[in-house]
Symmetry: C2
Subunit: 271 residues, 2 copies
């Protein structure tokens, strides 16, 4: 299998460039890529040092692949002049955009992961604090302020989902664990009943749930196939009878679960 | 000011396309954009319905701008056939990549925010659990397992930073608040001293800190200019005397703070 050296170069965090690079390269499973992220390349000096590294790498074999989001022309040109195969994720689209919008671009460093105003910062902090305070069924009397209450059996993925919703979108997301006791009936627990319209359920493949639970509590009834099957079936029956939307987390990343809830519950993002 | 309807269309979450779209459009402050995210457009039927919406929008004025990451050719062609200005963030680079790598792409839906294997899922869950358990100076006896211990005055941004590091990169990140008492000296608190090499400091503009603290505790000594100035100065003196790297969070987003710590502390990401 060929191995190809790949660099993601950005004047900021490089998160966007890295995500697009990974998405593109995942289309080439035949090739092994060695990907390095070089963030904060924001001066000509750093660009020059990077170009030197790239040229050295090129001498070892094939030209390295470079995926970049660089706003500054001088920095971009230094990188582009190296002995590389250059995929310019930014400049490729700026020209056509300028033409379509009939205005020049500002060529200032993007703010996609950049400086936030105070209101945005506050929304995010408040949302993170809310998710922490109301994690795992704590402070159910705060549910009046929740935009969504994520429910599900223990270890179905509620905590990361709520933290993600708060960090990524500034959503006030609480979570409530459906305990074995709650799941002996398919009626909504008393703490949840008044907030039915805000509930969003998580479900999971019982075998996967068992795998997750066994990592920490192997041998427990809690982690047995029977308990996992029973809890998942009861949770789904509860969602259906109360008309609660739900998502199966088994094959989904936190990003996908979060985007699904945002979309299906029509939540208004703050960030 | 002109207002331009803009759509981000993806067969998955659309997070990558949205971030790149925002980064590109931020270069045109003269134009107002009305951006809508249309995630999970993963069937020809959904694509057809989307194309109809786009065509209707085009009849109202200018052609909408469309930024898309769509892997499936049939879906992409349906969108491309609408009356739009199309910025294809995916296909633009796939052709040149195929040529450079001399292999065909698999044309399968990307995994950048997709299905994770169980090991990755576990790393992320463990890291999130660790961050929750060790938030705000709790369980300092777990620091042996920490990859980084984020320290700073109250409200300097420690909690979101650690949650982000755990969710985004699978890093075991604990955080410890430097209390007013801790800050009466520039010596490291006893709980931190044995873990000096793992510490990473946050600092913040004292005026901004005051603004944040006053939101919840206005009138308190805790939120007074004098306290904020004193605590920030002492924290920075502590970092300098103990040789602890630190980052100023005042004008940075959580993504930037996280990427800076990952980079400067040379942490090994798991995700």
């Amino acid at each position: 299998m060929q191995k190809r050296f790949t660099y993601v170069i950005s004047d900021r965090t490089g998160l966007t460039a890295e995500a697009l690079c990974q998405s593109l390269l995942s289309q080439f499973p035949q090739v092994e890529f060695d990907i390095e992220n070089l963030p904060f390349i924001d001066t000509p000096e750093k660009a020059q040092a990077t170009a030197t590294t790239l040229n050295e790498k090129a001498l070892q074999g094939q030209k390295p692949l470079v995926f970049a989001t660089l706003v500054n022309d001088e920095i971009r040109e230094i990188i582009a002049s190296a002995n590389i195969v250059f995929f310019d994720l930014f400049d490729t689209f700026i020209g056509p955009l300028e033409k379509e919008l009939t205005v020049d671009s500002s060529h200032s460093v993007g703010k996609s992961h950049g400086v936030l105003d105070f209101a945005e910062y506050s929304s995010r902090m408040s949302a993170v604090n809310f998710a922490m305070t109301t994690d795992d069924g704590m402070e159910t009397d705060h549910y009046a302020r929740a935009e969504v209450v994520v429910i599900g059996a223990s270890r179905s993925g509620k905590t990361p989902t709520c933290l993600y919703l708060s960090l990524q979108f500034g959503i006030f997301a609480a979570n409530y664990p459906l305990t074995t006791e709650d799941l002996h009936t398919t009626q909504l627990p008393p703490a949840l009943a008044p907030h039915q319209h805000k509930l969003f359920g998580l479900t999971i493949d019982p075998f996967r749930l068992q795998q997750i639970r066994q990592q920490r509590f192997s041998g427990d009834t809690y982690a047995s196939p029977k308990t996992c099957q029973f809890e998942v079936a009861q949770a789904e029956a509860m969602y259906r009878s109360a008309g609660i939307p739900f998502v199966n987390t088994t094959k989904k990343s936190v990003e996908e679960i979060g985007a699904t809830i945002l979309h299906e519950a029509s939540l208004r993002r703050k960030l």
